[in-house]
């Protein structure tokens, strides 16, 4: 077993800061509403002198343009859950902790090419999502968490990969990094037991007698003497995500950045579950008005953030937003299994060619769904009845005579003299006649001799002689 722990100490801040690139002074407050206290302050605020624990009023006195947002623990919890879902792409054993996550990665090391690469991918991904976190790697989850929390306080800890090395690594770490039950931690401190080394050296029965079996169990779990199973986080079957924008966003461009972040998170989650979405609702919340809801649909399950972003961008481009947007929501009701797209082994060359399905989706998105359709064969000898519109589908075989790419809606009468029909020049009958006489049973009988004809300039047409009107020639189609 090998565990990676993530600590997100500034989660309350990052919930808000994710949504934009710039970071004006921002504090998250908590406490009674009459007297809010600063829980976290971002860098910009800290530069101005704001510190945790001071009252918001005091903070605002220091930085005039300070923005203060009350702490939303539910949103934090939700964000952690989403992050857990996102992290599932690295391992299926992701567990939630109060201020972060732990991942069991021993099974994933080979896939990712070793611990170093896995950590790099994990860290990079988390950063792209707009979070900043600290990491710890240890053979037990508790130890990993301790390492990660140590880093928050600036104590650098090397990754530990074997149980044998663990006690040595833990040795110097202060005990307050663990979450002791009750007042155990204070009691330990009073007794002068400050470091892990000290606690681990104490006799077990005495420790249990003094501090309680729970505390001993915590130590055992930390050191790996006792197993510490974690329940893996099971993300819900639907995907829901909400991102509040730091400031009202006017127009479409301002939405794209946070949207990309959201989509990247969704992609990770979906990747972790080997899933994709075929239908995705993008909701833009406007203050005091009804939200704008865009329903995106894909012919096949998709999860790649870039692709979905391009689709969404086109749709947004055609949508008129009634008011500025304050928050974004993504809702996907159904997740479907999604086979990974084959990546080209000619790596490095950007695949410019767009697949057929994608092209159809793009065209539908741009032109509107009803305007994009395919042509299929219909079972009738009469040319005007010989085709019907259908969903775009692969080609079917045609074994009949030549048929033009363009068919006129209504055949057009041609000028015909003694020498025959003409259309911008005398028409030469190249092939034919192909006689079609049928359709007498439904009131649309056809009795025609069809010819492929060319005029002197080389244009090729599909014409027919109407057998029921002597001397009448009609144009029915054009060969491209």
């Amino acid at each position: 077993m090998l565990w990676v722990a993530l600590e997100l100490p500034e989660l309350p801040l990052q919930l808000l800061e994710r949504a934009s690139e710039s970071a004006p002074p921002l504090v998250v407050s908590e406490g009674p509403s009459q007297r809010p206290i600063v829980a976290c302050a971002n860098d910009a605020a800290q530069v101005a002198g704001v510190r945790e624990g001071m009252t918001v009023a005091a903070a605002q006195a220091l930085a005039g343009s300070l923005r203060c947002v009350p702490r939303d623990e539910a949103a934090e919890r939700e964000a952690l859950e989403r992050l857990a879902g996102w992290a599932a792409q690295f391992t299926s054993t992701v567990s939630l902790e109060p201020t972060g996550l732990v991942l069991e990665i021993s099974g994933s090391l080979r896939l990712f090419g070793g611990l170093g690469k896995l950590l790099a991918a994990l860290k990079g991904g988390v950063r792209r999502l707009g979070f900043s976190a600290t990491y710890g790697v240890a053979p037990t989850p508790l130890a990993a968490r301790v390492f990660a929390r140590a880093e928050v306080r600036g104590i650098a800890v090397r990754s530990c990969t074997t149980l044998a090395d663990l006690p040595a690594r833990l040795a110097e770490l202060p005990l307050f990094l663990l979450e002791w039950p009750g007042r155990t931690q204070e009691t330990l401190a009073d007794l002068g037991i400050l470091r892990a080394r000290d606690a681990l050296a104490l006799p077990r029965s005495g420790f249990a007698q003094r501090f309680g079996p729970q505390a001993l169990a915590l130590l055992d779990r930390l050191a790996g003497r006792v197993p510490d199973p974690r329940v893996p986080y099971e993300p819900p079957a639907r995907y829901k995500a909400r991102l509040e924008l730091p400031a009202e966003a006017d127009g479409v461009e301002a939405i794209l950045f946070p949207l990309r972040r959201l989509l990247a998170e969704m992609e990770g989650t979906l990747r972790g579950r080997g899933a994709g979405v075929q239908g995705l609702d993008l909701v833009l919340e406007h203050p005091g008005r009804r939200s704008t809801r865009l329903a995106l649909a894909f012919p096949t399950p998709e999860r790649e953030a870039d692709f979905i972003l391009s689709i969404a961008r086109e749709r947004l481009g055609r949508t008129e937003l009634p008011a500025p947007t304050v928050a974004l929501r993504l809702v996907a009701e159904r997740l479907q299994s999604c086979a990974p797209r084959e990546t080209s082994w000619l790596s490095g060359r950007e695949e410019k060619a767009v697949g057929r399905a994608r092209l159809i989706e793009r065209l539908s998105a741009r032109l509107g769904n009803p305007r994009v359709f395919g042509i299929a064969l219909a079972d009738d000898h009469r040319p005007e009845r010989g085709w019907r519109s259908s969903n775009p589908a692969p080609r079917s075989a045609w074994d009949g005579g030549a048929r033009p790419a363009w068919l006129l809606n209504r055949p057009q009468r041609l000028v015909a003299g003694a020498a025959g029909p003409s259309l911008q020049g005398k028409l030469d009958l190249v092939t034919g006649p192909e006689r079609i006489e049928t359709g007498w049973w439904d009131g649309e009988p056809v009795s025609r001799d069809y010819f492929v004809a060319a005029n002197p300039t080389g244009e090729t047409y599909w014409i027919y002689r109407e057998r029921r009107e002597p001397g009448a020639w009609y144009l029915h189609g054009v060969f491209a």
Binding site: H381, E434, R435, T438
Partner: protein
């Protein structure tokens, strides 16, 4: 100069649900177009060639006989018979193909062909994308007699097609010949052809889509049009092919089975001997002079036409049946001859009916005699098995019956093809009665609530009219046997019938008549079973040895009973209609019974002959004849046409028809429901009669009679055979009521009445009926001396007493 052409590939409506024209229509049209020859090549069948042959002789055009087949490997061929041996091979091939598959389909593989095949021309029809391999096989199997059929119908790829075929020709070494793949005689039949396709595919026209032919070009095209489509050498080649085929159906001769004639005898001598023996047996006191003269006259006629084997065959069957105690009776014009009476084929004494037998064999018609034999219904199968056993399954087979579209089934299928819903179709079909002619169709449709002027309904009417009479499938005739000395499958292909173990030939009775092949109808008659049972019962308790021939003739008591219409259970005259007729007609002699049997029939009724006859008989109307010629025909029926032959004879003597024309009239009458048949004769009939000085009113009346007769008129000879049974059963009822009722009960189901009514009638005649008794009853009803105990099969509740 218009090039000459012979059509080598043409299917008629005997390629069921593919061809849209009769063989006659095709032949006539080809003749009109000036074709050098026409081949009728139905799919794995020669069912239509006899009709085509007769029509071709009349129209003066040469007929080629062949068939179109698709092999199991996908190879498509047209095979034409070059000579008699080739025709026999062809029949053998078709037989093998049909026997190897369930009814209605066929299976032919390359192994079925000997290599090389002689006497047959093969035309190869390469399919799209087919390579030369098939053609090479054809060339090897039919050396020197194989061609590639080039069939162009203004299709999508005509230009390429010809080039492709030429390439195949070079690759295989086979020459090309122009063919038409003809499915109809005129373009106007395309709609019907589409409907046939839809019916065959069990779908509607709209859904058949591209499975319908795209245009109407598969018809017998005028030669100048063909000249614009095919290069002249291909047209010329068709004459080449036709010239290699010299076979004509006339070459088929009947060969009587060898077993019929004992060694050292000829058919004529053997027949003469049997007849003489029979004559002595029938008239132990010596035959009357008139009968002897008749016998001599008939034997002479028989010898002239060479028909001895027919009589000998039937005699053999009757002897077998009698030997087994199976009651039988001959029926038909030839059956009621004096010779047949001597042979024991019929029980009708020529002495009784001297006027009957003038034209029992029509010399001019050249047709073999019409002999049917009725057997006891329940023992008919024994006779059939005897025939199969004696001649073998190869030499004896059942004739076919062509099941044709009737108005009801035609409307149903046309309606479904045109997309009417199932209940609409049912409504339309039910609104027709069996009797209707197509003209009444329109009226019936309006009555059923449809708008007869709507486009759809007009099409329904029009197409139904065309479809009525079209062959739908071949079925086995219940008892018509054809027997030959050779393996039958060399004369005409044999296919599987629906009944397992039964095989049927592809020709029907008319075809066999035209071809001069021996045909015997082995039919079952329930009344014969009843009469035998009654005779057995009577003989049983009286200790007599009564046979049907021993029943005393012209018993007045019998006629008295008949005149009272006390005829429940009596053959032919027990129906309500008959019981109403009997007191009016008051039969008093044998011939009256003959008339009684024939008069209560749709023919005379629709010909409006019944009432005039009755009035004349009762003396309420004077009997008059417009001419002595008419008198000779109608005298025995008081100047009124009752029998079918009288109509024919009138046409000859009063309208000047030749016997051959009268025969066409007879056929047209039989087929009038098919094609509105006798309209063409109207002119000749009425005109002929007017020319001979008859009044227009009389001529019109005669014409109407003929129209009414149709095929419902009863031939006199059949009526006579039946009248005999009427008399016998009536005699039994009169003099042995208990035995008769008992026999009737044991022969159920038979007749119009149920057992309860039979028992009540017997009781009314003083017969005591004992109820069913566990101890005493047998399975069948029996006579008990002094009483008759009803058996378990009777299910009645009272006792009989003699």
């Amino acid at each position: 100069m218009v090039p000459a052409y012979a059509e080598l590939h043409c299917v008629s409506n005997y390629s069921f649900l593919r061809g849209a024209s009769d063989p006659e229509e095709l032949v006539e049209r080809a003749a009109r177009l000036g074709y050098a020859a026409l081949a009728i090549t139905d799919e794995c069948s020669v069912a239509g060639v006899v009709r085509a042959h007769l029509a071709a002789k009349k129209a003066g055009i040469r007929l080629l006989v062949g068939t179109e087949v698709s092999l199991a490997c996908g190879l498509r061929l047209v095979l034409l018979a070059r000579d008699l041996a080739g025709y026999e091979t062809l029949c053998g091939l078709i037989t093998a193909a049909r026997r190897a598959a369930p009814k209605g389909s066929y299976r032919l593989t390359r192994c079925g062909f000997a290599t090389p095949v002689t006497g047959i021309v093969a035309l190869w029809r390469p399919g799209a994308g087919e390579g030369p391999e098939g053609g090479e096989w054809v060339g090897a199997t039919f050396p020197g007699m194989a061609w590639i059929a080039a069939e162009l119908h203004k299709g999508a790829h005509d230009g390429h097609e010809l080039a492709r075929l030429r390439e195949l020709g070079i690759a295989t070494g086979l020459p090309l010949v122009a063919c038409g793949d003809v499915h109809m005689h005129a373009r106007g039949r395309k709609r019907l052809q589409d409907v046939l396709t839809a019916i065959r595919l069990r779908t509607s026209l709209a859904e058949a889509g591209r499975r319908l032919q795209p245009n109407a070009e598969r018809y017998l095209r005028p030669i100048d049009r063909l000249a614009k489509i095919y290069p002249p050498e291909l047209l010329f080649e068709s004459l080449e092919v036709a010239s290699r085929c010299t076979f004509s159906l006339d070459e088929i001769r009947y060969e009587y089975p060898d077993e019929l004639v004992p060694p050292g005898e000829t058919p004529a001598s053997h027949l003469g001997k049997l007849t003489a023996e029979g004559l002595a047996r029938r008239y132990p006191a010596g035959p009357p002079g008139s009968v002897v003269a008749t016998v001599r006259h008939e034997l002479r006629l028989i010898a002239q036409m060479g028909y001895e084997p027919f009589f000998l065959t039937v005699h053999d069957i009757v002897v077998f049946a009698r030997g087994k105690g199976i009651l039988c009776q001959g029926r038909g014009s030839a059956a009621n001859s004096a010779v047949c009476y001597c042979l024991g084929i019929t029980e009708v004494d020529p002495g009784r009916m001297s006027v009957l037998f003038e034209r029992f064999i029509s010399k001019e018609r050249g047709e073999p005699p019409d002999i049917d034999v009725d057997f006891e219904h329940q023992r008919r199968e024994e006779v059939i098995q005897y025939l199969y056993a004696k001649y073998g399954r190869e030499r004896a087979a059942l004739t076919a019956v062509v099941i044709t579209y009737q108005p009801r089934s035609a409307v149903r299928d046309v309606g479904k093809a045109l997309g009417l819903s199932l209940d609409q179709v049912d409504l339309l079909a039910k609104s027709l009665s069996w009797w209707d002619n197509p003209e009444a169709l329109r009226q019936r449709i309006a009555e059923a609530g449809f708008d007869p002027d709507s486009a759809v309904l007009r099409q329904v009417v029009d197409l139904t009219r065309q479809l009525v009479g079209f062959p739908r499938h071949l079925s086995q005739h219940p008892g018509g046997f054809v027997i030959d000395n050779r393996n039958l499958s060399r004369l005409v292909p044999v296919e599987n019938a629906t009944m397992p173990g039964r095989t049927v030939i592809q020709w029907d009775k008319d075809d066999l008549d035209a071809m001069g092949l021996l045909k015997v109808d082995v039919l079952g008659l329930g009344m014969l079973s009843c009469i035998r049972r009654a005779l057995d019962l009577v003989n049983g308790y009286r200790g007599s040895r009564l046979s049907m021939a021993d029943i005393p003739a012209e018993d007045p008591a019998v006629y008295a009973m008949a005149q009272k219409a006390d005829t429940l259970g009596v053959f032919q005259i027990e129906s309500r209609a008959q019981m109403a007729m009997l007191p009016r007609l008051k039969p008093a002699c044998f011939y009256d019974l003959v008339i009684e049997v024939a008069i209560v029939r749709p023919g005379p009724i629709m010909g409006k002959m019944v009432h005039p006859y009755l009035r004349r008989r009762e003396g309420k109307e004077p009997v008059s004849y417009p001419s002595p010629a008419v008198r000779s025909v109608l005298e025995r029926t008081l100047g009124v046409s009752i029998f079918q032959e009288q109509v024919m004879q009138l046409a000859v003597v009063a309208a000047g028809f030749t016997p051959g024309e009268a025969d066409s009239l007879r056929r047209a009458m039989a087929a009038w429901r098919r094609r509105g048949g006798i309209e063409p004769f109207r002119e000749k009939l009425v005109g002929g009669m007017l020319a001979r000085g008859y009044a227009l009113a009389y001529a019109e009346q005669i014409y109407q009679q003929i129209q009414g007769f149709g095929e419902y008129g009863f031939p006199e000879s059949h009526a006579a055979s039946f009248a005999l049974l009427v008399y016998v059963s009536c005699w039994l009822k009169c003099h042995e009521p208990a035995a008769f009722a008992c026999a009737l009960l044991n022969s159920q189901p038979l007749g119009f009445y149920n057992p309860s009514q039979i028992v009540q009638d017997a009781q009314r005649h003083g017969v005591e009926v004992r109820p069913v008794c566990v101890l005493a009853s047998e399975v069948e009803s029996t006579l008990v001396p002094g009483r008759w105990a009803a058996g378990h099969s009777a299910r009645v509740g009272d006792g009989f007493r003699v």
